[in-house]
């Protein structure tokens, strides 16, 4: 590579789904008004890996999102932990299917490349925490004609290759793929760092490249979302507080689980 390595990490603003999930009235998306928005753990790990890999190679890490105006928050959080450039494809992500998103990311990668800013390595989360399509990274690799490793927990770059560790059915599997390449990340291999105050200050100053989508999306083929029917509760309350202990131990004895 003639230039220093650049790693592009692609992230998605998603509704925090650790609590109760509420749908929007049009049944097309998850309502984030009360739950708030976040990045998935896969993508937090992808950001951490991008920053680590770029740092080790003396290169840079860039971040990209396709999302509504507020998705700038997620770009800023990536900038606060070490990414140095950000691109915002401003669009309603609900109108974009996985193939549409891959096409838009590919457009940005190619545009940057013609502008003399190639992204040697593109990282994405293995699957989006909301739509769970499990395919954007692979479709992106096809668009770009690059090899792709899926579900990596660890990533390193050496001698123009990306070395990725994947937890697979054969144990710890290693891939070694020439750059430029695409890798999708599964959480669990690295601990995402917290932003520092100077990091946050720096992030505020970075000018974000904002652009409209390059093509009309085909859409996600989604009819509607719905919540799974609630399971009727059949719970039997054994009691309140410490007084319930005998009833609990009676149950344990009936189940035959009390060690002798």
């Amino acid at each position: 590579m003639s230039q220093a390595l650049d790693v592009l990490v692609c992230v998605k603003r998603v509704v925090d789904s650790t609590g109760e999930v509420v749908l929007t009235e049009d049944e097309q998306s998850v309502d984030g008004r009360y739950a708030g928005f976040t990045l998935s753990n896969h993508e937090e790990c992808a950001i951490e890996l991008a920053v680590q890999v770029a740092g080790a190679a003396g290169g840079s890490a860039s971040v990209l999102t396709l999302g509504e105006p507020e998705a700038v928050d997620q770009l800023r959080s990536a900038l606060a932990v070490g990414c140095t450039a950000a691109t915002h494809v401003e669009a309603d992500p609900g109108a974009f299917g996985p193939a549409d998103v891959a096409r838009e990311i590919a457009l940005v990668v190619r545009d940057h490349e013609s502008a003399g800013r190639p992204h040697d390595l593109v990282l994405l989360g293995n699957d989006a925490a909301d739509t769970g399509d499990f395919q954007v990274g692979i479709r992106l690799a096809h668009e770009l004609g690059r090899p792709v490793v899926n579900g990596a927990a660890t990533i390193a770059v050496e001698d123009g290759h990306v070395v990725a560790g994947v937890k697979g059915p054969e144990g710890r599997e290693t891939y070694r793929v020439p750059l430029p390449a695409v890798v999708t990340v599964l959480e669990g291999g690295v601990e995402p760092r917290y932003p520092t105050v100077p990091g946050r200050m720096k992030a505020k100053k970075v000018e974000i490249e904002s652009r409209p989508p390059g093509t009309d999306p085909v859409g996600p083929n989604r009819r509607r979302l719905r919540l799974p029917p609630p399971q009727p509760s059949e719970v039997q309350v054994l009691g309140k507080g410490a007084d319930a202990a005998p009833a609990v131990v009676d149950l344990f004895e009936r189940l035959g689980v009390v060690a002798r």
Binding site: G132, A141, N150, G151, G188, N221, G241, V257
Partner: protein
């Protein structure tokens, strides 16, 4: 024809692949008896003849076995290339696989190559014209109805969406071996080495008959004393929520859930755990669940078989005391 990508282990087709074959049979029946073929790429982890015999009991007509050096190591693109070759020769209208990491990866490659959609984690289908599937999204917290209008329809089946069951009448089970050509570009990203997983620290948790679970309600890293004593008294294992591992109170290998271990003990005692969908994913198959929680409206309480409402730091020591009391002569 419906083509099912089958993954194997030493005992034959893995359970989720057999579930997918069962799902495919329902689809076949709805479509007026469309034949079901299986595709196996590379050397299976069990003897081929046994695998073919097993697949026949699941109603499989032909087993397409793609062989050759190209498949000596796993690669998403090379496997997809093999599935594509088989599909083109046999003309399938549906290609499906279990929603495993490899199933997802291979079918995503196939869908990208063919320029069609892929639906991940399907749990049901509803109507053939247009072909409409229901799939899990938001980690299983919501369902999406999605139209798969193109041919082939490509989708993965979520684990445990259906129960694996052999067909009432066996299929022909004919082995068709081929050595599909794979383009050099599809061989670039392949496993170059694999180390057997290091000693699986979660082994004890996964095989325990009794698991005592602990969540944020434990309060701190020092809040596990009584819980560990209960583990001892029940000769069980400790399982924890992600909040507990994220806060560094306990190690990751003790985590139960979507990104931890899936457990199916006889008894799960969930103490101070709210029962988020991602935690539930790991403990739902416990035979009996007892929830101990200060909040009577916690999802874990609603989903459990039995519950005790209150502070685990009062209830768990009382249970320990009661067990010890009954033990002493």
């Amino acid at each position: 024809m419906i083509l099912v990508l089958v993954e194997t282990d030493a005992t034959g087709a893995v359970e989720v692949s057999r579930e997918t074959l069962t799902f495919a049979r329902d689809l076949s029946a709805a479509g007026g008896g469309v034949p079901i073929d299986a595709v196996v790429v590379g050397a299976p982890a069990c003897p081929v003849a046994e695998l073919v015999a097993q697949l026949a009991t699941y109603g499989v007509r032909q087993v397409h076995h793609a062989t050759g050096d190209a498949f000596s190591a796993y690669g998403g693109a090379s496997w997809a290339s093999a599935v594509q070759t088989v599909r083109e020769a046999a003309g399938s209208v549906v290609v499906t696989a279990a929603g495993t990491p490899r199933g997802m990866e291979v079918l995503a490659h196939l869908a990208a190559r063919l320029g069609v959609a892929m639906a991940a984690n399907v749990v049901a289908f509803d109507g053939l014209a247009p072909f409409t599937v229901t799939r899990q999204v938001v980690g299983g917290a919501a369902l999406e109805d999605m139209v798969l209008g193109e041919r082939p329809a490509i989708f993965t089946v979520a684990g445990h969406a259906v129960e694996a069951s052999p067909a009432p009448t066996s299929g022909e089970g004919r082995l068709v071996t081929s050595a599909p050509e794979v383009a050099a570009a599809d061989l670039v990203a392949r496993v170059v080495s694999a180390e057997p997983a290091q000693e699986d620290l979660s082994g004890g948790l996964k095989s325990a008959r009794v698991v005592v679970g602990a969540g944020r309600g434990a309060g701190s890293a020092d809040g596990f004393g009584d819980l560990l004593e209960l583990v001892d008294l029940l000769d069980g294992a400790l399982g924890v929520s992600r909040v507990v591992t994220s806060l560094g109170w306990r190690p990751h290998h003790e985590q139960v859930g979507q990104t931890g271990s899936r457990i199916s003990p006889d008894l799960y005692v969930a103490c101070g755990i709210s029962g988020a969908i991602q935690h539930w994913a790991g403990c739902a198959s416990a035979k009996t669940i007892v929830a101990i929680n200060t909040d009577p409206d916690a999802p874990m309480v609603a989903k459990a078989h039995y519950a005790v409402i209150g502070d685990l730091h009062e209830i768990v020591p009382a249970i320990n005391e009661e067990i010890r009391r009954r033990r002493s002569p």
